[in-house]
């Protein structure tokens, strides 16, 4: 088993216009920086992007929005991006807003072969429009469908050539659930290690979910809200 490829461009081979992508990350934390840059360079268009957020104006998915490569966003929160808001309110960009927990669970379900599940989130709101409602334990729930993607684009901390991954801190977020749900799952890691270096008991994403892996470079890891307290 050797899933290592040279770089983001090789990892994204076969990715075409109008495909559906999942992109890991929460805000700018744990986003696949190298792959996003490659998507800009490739110039693919008409993308449907499933990602919790849409980056900021000049970083993360904001870079793809600037170039109008995205046709539709499926997200839970997009409040940090003015260009996004402009494109959405003007109707240039289709947007499907989903409760964050439903988004995470729908990705996991897509990866786990669960085509649909009931959740209470969103009952009685716009989110429930057109969806089946059923009462369980006296409480109304709505039926949510699984999400999958042509490519799931993931950022991990360390990985090996089998595709085994570990994440660091809250850069984990959506990455493990999206890794499960890609027809092709592409991973960029800060550090490629030899098989056996990752303790099998503490692997976050088993390699079975991963098709291609490469060592990323020049990570900026921009901080969105730098908050500190004074030194004591």
């Amino acid at each position: 088993m050797n899933k290592i490829v040279a770089d983001a461009h090789e990892a994204l081979q076969g990715l075409q216009d109008n495909m559906t992508l999942m992109l890991g990350g929460f805000g700018l934390c744990g986003i696949p920086e190298n792959s996003i840059s490659a998507l800009v360079e490739m110039g693919v268009n008409g993308l449907t992007c499933i990602s919790n957020n849409a980056g900021v104006d000049d970083f993360g998915l904001g870079l793809l929005l600037q170039k109008k490569q995205i046709k539709k966003m499926i997200s839970s929160y997009v409040g940090e991006n003015d260009e996004f808001e402009r494109q959405m309110l003007s109707g240039e960009l289709e947007v499907d807003l989903i409760p964050q927990g439903s988004l995470a669970e729908r990705c996991r379900a897509g990866g786990a072969g669960i085509p649909a599940f009931f959740t209470p989130a969103g009952y009685g709101t716009e989110v429930a429009e057109g969806k089946e409602v059923r009462i369980f334990g006296g409480k109304p729930h709505i039926l949510e469908a699984a999400l999958t993607a042509d490519f799931a684009i993931i950022k991990a901390w360390k990985g090996d050539r089998y595709g085994n991954l570990i994440y660091k801190g809250t850069a984990r977020n959506f990455n493990p659930v999206m890794a499960m749900a890609g027809k092709i799952t592409v991973v960029e890691v800060e550090e490629l290690v030899e098989p056996g270096e990752l303790d099998p008991n503490f692997i976050h994403t088993p390699g079975v979910f991963v098709q291609r892996i490469f060592q990323g470079k020049n990570y900026e890891k921009r901080i969105e809200q730098r908050t500190t307290r004074p030194k004591a």
Binding site: Y77, P99, Q100, G101, E105, T119, A121, N173
Partner: protein, 217 residues
Amino acid sequence: MLDREGIAKRIAQELQDGWYVNLGIGIPTLVANYIPEGINVEFQSENGLLGMGPFPVEGAEDADLINAGKQTVTMLPGGSIFDSATSFAMIRGQHVQLTVLGAMEVAENGDIANWKIPGRMVKGMGGAMDLVASAENIIVAMKHTNRKGASKLLKACTLPLTGVGCVKKVVTNMAVLEVKEDGFHLIERAPGVSVEDIKNATEGRLVVPDVVPEMTI
């Protein structure tokens, strides 16, 4: 009249020992600064963090350790990290005892709106819809009125809903109110605020007992 810190202080009095608590963005985040003596709680951040500590000291910020507001944070001993699906398993599965969040509007039947102003502002619901649909115990932290002076405690929400019939308690700059079948029950007044002031600032049905104590914060 309370300021933002005052609202947070008052909400902190609601904390019970051993609770897991999710604090939303804004005023709710401040609650963590006022945990009462002798009370141990753990803070859950829905991006995948339990046992959230204070902001890091300058220079110790870690881009890989943020809260749901995208702020750099620290972790306390006994904390843990997990993925987004597990995080919302905690929330949806009612393992988190208290949710504190902000709102644009709350209705007398417990409906809440806080994620969208049609045609003008659409930031998205983030984790709020999951939180309000699942939490047994939801406290809303907000100003009693909006910038134009109009009440945010309404007969019915006018904005798109975040959740229905879910809010149990509201703490504003003017009052503490419980949401019951017959409307907002006035529990406490903020220092220097009269029952009359609160009546004037509340559009939804307000139930006022004979005696309304002033908060002690």
